[in-house]
């Protein structure tokens, strides 16, 4: 990447506002229009992740022949044990399809960012992973989602949701104390109700992993709603990771937060991925670039492109992805 050639005043990543972009605050590490005398290495045709070309007003056709699917799967499995596998997952609300036959795999130790314009099905897909879509009576799902070898359809929803935790867009702590918020997640997991002395180390550990403990340790019995927005969101993360889930779903976790809190939470995501698989939905492309290892771009319910973050941002193969990551639409 010859960043310095076209951005000499800003050697760090992503600080060159582009005048032609409607999102002037989003910048790109590498702009294929201005650079690329040296074309990026042709990806090995054996391990090309899925790409679809999209023609507006028409259902997209997969570019890649299905024979490559197995090769792709193996290639992507390299970086950690597979936690979640989506096979041909479709979700519809009544007659309206929100997610159309998405296949993905999510590994431990990686952050997968789902990006795409509003209404493209990112959040629906995310909520399908812990079967929260089932709360909407009109939602129907097809395809298979496999968590550690078990179809999530066969797991009890409460057990599944303890293993696939979720953090929401709006910080939503319960109107209880900080301690009780985290303890609530831990209690009732077991038949026998654990007592306070048994819970305390677990609660403190969760708060510590969420990077909140030092700020609240003086009074864990303060009402959670008195915390600041960023602290509340970290409390929600602590609450989610307290039962030691395998996958953490995050639905635009920073969109209600200021840049400093956002930075803290992004740091936290970096830390957390060591023990979890993280799936994050974000509208903020810069954020996706900062936190994600893999990126999946969705458009109108289709998974258009899925691949390593760097590749999706710097050398997207689908024209629509290129337009989106360059800020042409969305």
């Amino acid at each position: 990447m010859n960043e310095l050639e076209y951005a000499p005043q800003a050697p760090t990543r992503g600080t060159t506002p582009r005048a032609h972009s409607p999102r002037a605050h989003i910048t790109y590490v590498d702009d294929p229009l201005s650079t690329s005398p040296q074309a990026p290495a042709e990806p090995d045709p054996q391990i090309v992740p899925p790409v679809r070309t999209i023609v507006l007003d028409r259902a997209p056709e997969p570019v890649r022949p299905p024979a490559q699917r197995e090769a792709v799967r193996r290639a992507l499995e390299a970086d950690g044990p597979e936690r979640l596998r989506l096979e041909d997952v479709s979700v519809a609300y009544s007659a309206k399809t929100a997610v159309r036959s998405v296949s993905l795999s999510i590994h431990q130790g990686e952050v997968l960012a789902l990006i795409g314009p509003s209404g493209c099905g990112k959040t629906t897909l995310l909520r399908t992973l812990n079967r929260l879509t089932e709360l909407t009576p009109s939602a129907t799902r097809s395809g298979r989602i496999v968590l550690d070898g078990h179809d999530i359809h066969d797991l009890e929803d409460t057990a599944l949701r303890a293993r696939v935790a979720m953090v929401f867009q709006q910080p939503n702590p319960f109107p209880m104390s900080i301690f009780d918020n985290v303890a609530f997640a831990l209690r009732e997991q077991s038949r026998r109700r654990p007592r306070r002395p048994e819970l305390e180390p677990l609660v403190i550990d969760a708060l510590r992993r969420a990077g909140l403990y030092d700020e609240v340790k003086d009074d864990l019995h303060r009402p959670a709603l008195r915390l600041s927005g960023g602290q509340q969101q970290r409390l929600c993360i602590a609450r989610a990771i307290a039962p030691r889930p395998e996958v953490l779903l995050m639905d635009e976790p920073c969109s209600a937060l200021d840049p400093i809190s956002t930075g803290v939470i992004e740091e936290l995501i970096h830390e957390l991925r060591r023990e979890l698989a993280v799936v994050i939905v974000t509208h903020n492309l810069a954020q996706a670039q900062r936190v994600a290892d893999k990126v999946a771009f969705m458009y109108l319910g289709d998974l258009v492109e899925y691949g390593p973050a760097q590749q999706v941002f710097e050398d997207p193969r689908a024209p629509r992805t290129r337009d989106y990551v360059r800020g042409a639409f969305g």
Binding site: A165, N172, A183, R187, E188, Q189, P223
Partner: protein
């Protein structure tokens, strides 16, 4: 507002040296329609204050001069003259007992039906139709005059299989009059406000709160017990007060269904508490009615004294529940703290 307006005008132009107030900031520049509404709103509010003050002050003035502490602790006596007619301990106990039974029966019913409507009643056309039917039934109960509820209650509790609830008459028939019967009908009166308060509270709990609990792998019942009910506790408290004040205020049901005996008259024989519940009695409202010039008692001084006690009862109750609700709202961060044991 005023501090902002009185600040010297900023800017270097110096065009306006005197502080200027924007158009519409003072009443002098209001439109006539605005002034009229303003006047009407204030008049209505003050008028209501005056009415409330008049009731409290008049009843207080008339009542307090006849109120003796001994009245609260002595049984009423059937007597022709006021001096010998005793106090109103029994009606006081009667009111308390009726309130207790009524709320005890109404609260679970109201809370459960509100939970059902808000938490389980979505989805499916049949279920939505059912919820609508339930809601309109409760509205019908709320709109029924209490005398109708009372007469209906007599009809019900005179049924033979409900004879355990009331004392039998000499001829072997069932009177249908007892604390149990009156309390059960009172619960119908207390139910609508309790239901509405709980339902509105539940509907005001944001969806993301439920989703947060579900996303943690909580069952519906755990979500209801640990998250929803604690957050609607102030609403339930408000509903309970409204219900209590309706029960305390009711006269028709007492006159028809409680037998309107001056004293608590336990059912002969049987268990010590149950026989009171099966027996007849009176309440403060029926006592006031009986002793007022309208009734037969002819002890208007006692009626005034009882009325002031009734009024104090209701006022204290309102204050208490308001305090509970506010106290819980203030510490809303820890409403559920006590819920975890």
């Amino acid at each position: 507002m005023s501090s902002f307006a009185s600040e010297p005008a900023l800017g270097a132009s110096g065009l306006s040296s005197a502080p200027r107030r924007g158009r519409g900031s003072s009443m002098r520049t209001w439109r006539w329609s605005d002034r009229l509404i303003w006047l009407a709103a204030w008049t209505a509010g003050l008028l209501l204050c005056a009415v409330a003050a008049a009731i409290v002050l008049y009843m207080g003035y008339r009542g307090v001069q006849y109120l003796r502490p001994s009245l609260l602790f002595s049984h009423p006596q059937p007597s022709g003259n006021q001096a010998g007619s005793g106090g109103f301990l029994d009606p006081l106990l009667g009111t308390a007992l009726l309130t207790f039974i009524g709320i005890l029966l109404a609260a679970p019913l109201a809370i459960c039906s509100a939970l059902w409507i808000v938490e389980y009643g979505h989805g499916g056309r049949t279920r939505q139709a059912l919820t609508r039917i339930v809601e309109s039934s409760i509205e019908i109960v709320a709109g029924t005059p209490d005398i109708l509820i009372a007469v209906f209650g007599v009809a019900i509790f005179q049924l033979h299989f409900l004879r355990f609830a009331s004392e039998g008459s000499e001829g072997g028939g069932v009177t249908g009059r007892s604390f149990l019967a009156a309390g059960a009908m009172m619960s119908l009166i207390a139910l609508p406000p309790l239901f509405v308060a709980t339902r509105d509270g539940l509907q005001a709990v944001p969806t993301h709160m439920r989703e947060a609990a579900f996303a943690l792998g909580k069952t519906r019942i755990a979500t209801i017990r640990r998250v929803l009910l604690p957050s609607v506790r102030p609403n339930i408290a408000t509903g309970v007060t409204l219900g209590i004040s309706r029960i305390i205020a009711d006269t028709a049901i007492v006159l028809v269904l409680l037998g309107d005996e001056l004293r608590l008259s336990p059912h002969p024989g049987g268990l010590p508490v149950l026989n009171v519940l099966r027996g007849a009695g009176s309440s403060l409202t029926s006592y006031v009615y009986d002793n007022s010039p309208a009734g037969e008692g002819g002890a208007p001084q006692k009626a005034y004294a009882a009325a002031v006690v009734l009024l104090l009862f209701v006022l204290l109750l309102n204050l208490a529940v308001e305090w509970i609700a506010r106290h819980q709202a203030r510490s809303s961060g820890s409403v559920a703290a006590g819920g975890f044991v």
